[in-house]
Symmetry: C2
């Protein structure tokens, strides 16, 4: 959208595995509850109103850039606004068991009733939030748009809410795989449209969140989740904005994920980022992967955690520092600052040309 | 303990990767809530009283052998009776957020106060339940004893209960790894003593449950969980009863788990048992790994699920059929019967000498 260059484009260069002076850092749920400035906004409006009021959403989107100094912003929104735009009724009561849908999708006719929304109309509040954020960022850092993966959206839509055993969505794939694919293909279409609209509205990169891919067996993950992520990615990648894919708890499927066409694979904290790089780092950049719980420890612990991830990834390009999952709501802000500063400081040596033996050999 | 041979020893032979006529089957939490006969016993006593009353524990231990026809019994108990015997106060209110401890272990002095219990005295109800079960089984099928892994027990003891983010036990390993290892070494000693006492009381095999190993990063899993499992296994394996290790959500660490000295690696439903066999099947037998949620589907779905696991494992020995996690409480009994019968019937062909080409070559 913008024709002006972004002054800090470390994140975009790292996504493309180009040279950077230090490792860029941002983190999932960085616009959120751990920040008193976010809570001050949320005191006045409920969660969904915040999502749907572009100037407020933009304000909290920009907060972590200004307060914490991250190298990218991610638009404030929720993955469940897309199923809502497809015709479902969404309730969000924070702290009351999480978001849920009034009537879960439990039949073929319910699948058929879901509409393919025009994002420019039904999800205008998201594209407007992107436009406003983009304007307020003034090209300081790139802006990331996002969507849930088709599987993760389907899981919420069929279960009606988060689940311990995912018996309804699994019942659908085990008993009626054909219907499951009808739903997932409809969602792939909707997610593709949605991400393209976000790019049109100014997103400089996009991330696909597959929060629930990891509840499936390896083959089922590939058939019911990754196949549909791949179809979304192939629709979006022509726009030449970096695409990040985050499949939580799917480390055993790292190889096929790295082949889905995305530019960046985001790792949860359970993966070994060094082993992951050795396995697939020639194909994609890697994002991650500090355990968010490390941010509850001492300053030394946080720095040690950052150092360990940097060491594991090692020298060279193609690393975006992030947490292995969203930041936890009551994380101390001082530790968040320590975390971001530690990445900025400690990563520099990993981007200098290696000195010593090689050079003198 | 018993000198009489066990009439159905398919399970023990499969653990040793010896030839069997069909794949043996049992399943985690098979003595439990899905059975009306279990619920009839539980109506009269609370959960912990059931654990601590050997004749009742033995009754529910034997139930799935007689009602469902599984090929092994597992003693009815709970992994948290060991921390209780070490001095902690345990509360179990089923349905009220699960078991919890009155005072979680949150300091070095709390770790030091934990006692190493003499299982013959403090856990006599478990060894008595094993002896009574053994007698009532009349050598029809083998009897399995079990314990939580040191890491999983430590997680419960430090958190005080199950957790979403495990911030306290992770805080311990990130901030005070030395203290964490003191706790884990004490637990390894206690678990070893406990398992040896169970073998003395008649357990024909033992299983170590690492329910929470999967919340750790790969390196942390190896350092804080697997290292201590390995030390338990090396203490117990001299008794020549098969040792099964179940580390949930740890498929990325399959190789090191298969090298811990155990005879059998139990797989959760997310692993591909065919790939696992190709990777490590020359070292260990494999147990698993049908998704427990499949048992909520149609009869055809259950049979298809069983067939898929058998196909993936393929021809040959060293497979014990099980679910990929404990059976869910409200699973229909008819489906449980279908599941067990399907394994018994459909597995036969996988144990016949392969006919055809090879033989005539």
């Amino acid at each position: 959208m913008s024709t002006n260059p972004i002054s800090n484009d470390l994140f975009l260069r790292a996504c493309r595995r180009e040279a950077v002076e230090r490792t860029p850092v941002w983190f999932m749920r960085q616009a959120g509850r751990y920040l008193p400035e976010y809570r001050a906004v949320r005191e006045k409006v409920d969660f969904l109103t915040l999502c749907k009021t572009p100037e407020l959403a933009a304000r909290v989107t920009v907060q972590p850039v200004e307060i914490i100094g991250v190298d990218a912003a991610i638009v404030f929104s929720d993955i469940l606004v897309l199923p809502e735009a497809m015709g479902m009724t969404l309730f969000v009561h924070e702290g009351k068991g999480g978001p849920h849908f009034a009537e879960p999708v439990r039949s073929r006719s319910a699948i058929d009733r879901l509409v393919l929304p025009d994002p420019a109309a039904k999800l205008r509040f998201v594209t407007d939030a992107l436009r406003t954020s983009k304007r307020e960022l003034q090209n300081r850092v790139p802006l990331i748009g996002f969507s849930g993966a088709p599987w993760t959206l389907a899981a919420y839509m069929v279960e009606g809410r988060g689940s311990k055993d995912f018996r309804h969505i699994k019942g659908l794939i085990y008993d009626s795989p054909g219907d499951a694919h009808v739903l997932l293909e409809k969602l792939s279409q909707a997610v593709g449209d949605y991400l393209l609209a976000q790019i049109d509205a100014g997103a400089d990169a996009i991330q696909i969140f597959d929060t629930w891919g990891g509840v499936l067996g390896k083959s089922e993950f590939e058939e019911f989740s990754l196949r549909h992520i791949t179809s979304v990615v192939s629709r979006v990648r022509g726009r030449h904005v970096p695409i990040i894919v985050f499949c939580k708890d799917c480390s055993q499927s790292l190889e096929p994920i790295a082949s889905c066409g995305a530019d960046v694979v985001s790792l949860d904290w359970k993966s070994d980022i060094g082993e992951a790089r050795a396995a697939v780092g020639h194909r994609v950049a890697l994002q991650g992967n500090l355990d968010p719980v490390v941010l509850f420890g001492s300053k030394e612990s946080v720095e040690r955690g950052v150092r360990r991830v940097l060491e594991k990834f090692g020298h060279g390009n193609g690393h975006i520092f992030n947490l292995g999952h969203g930041i936890l709501p009551d994380t101390p802000v001082a530790n968040v600052r320590t975390f971001v500063e530690a990445v900025k400081t400690l990563s520099v040596v990993y981007h200098r040309e290696p000195a010593g033996v090689m050079r003198h050999a």
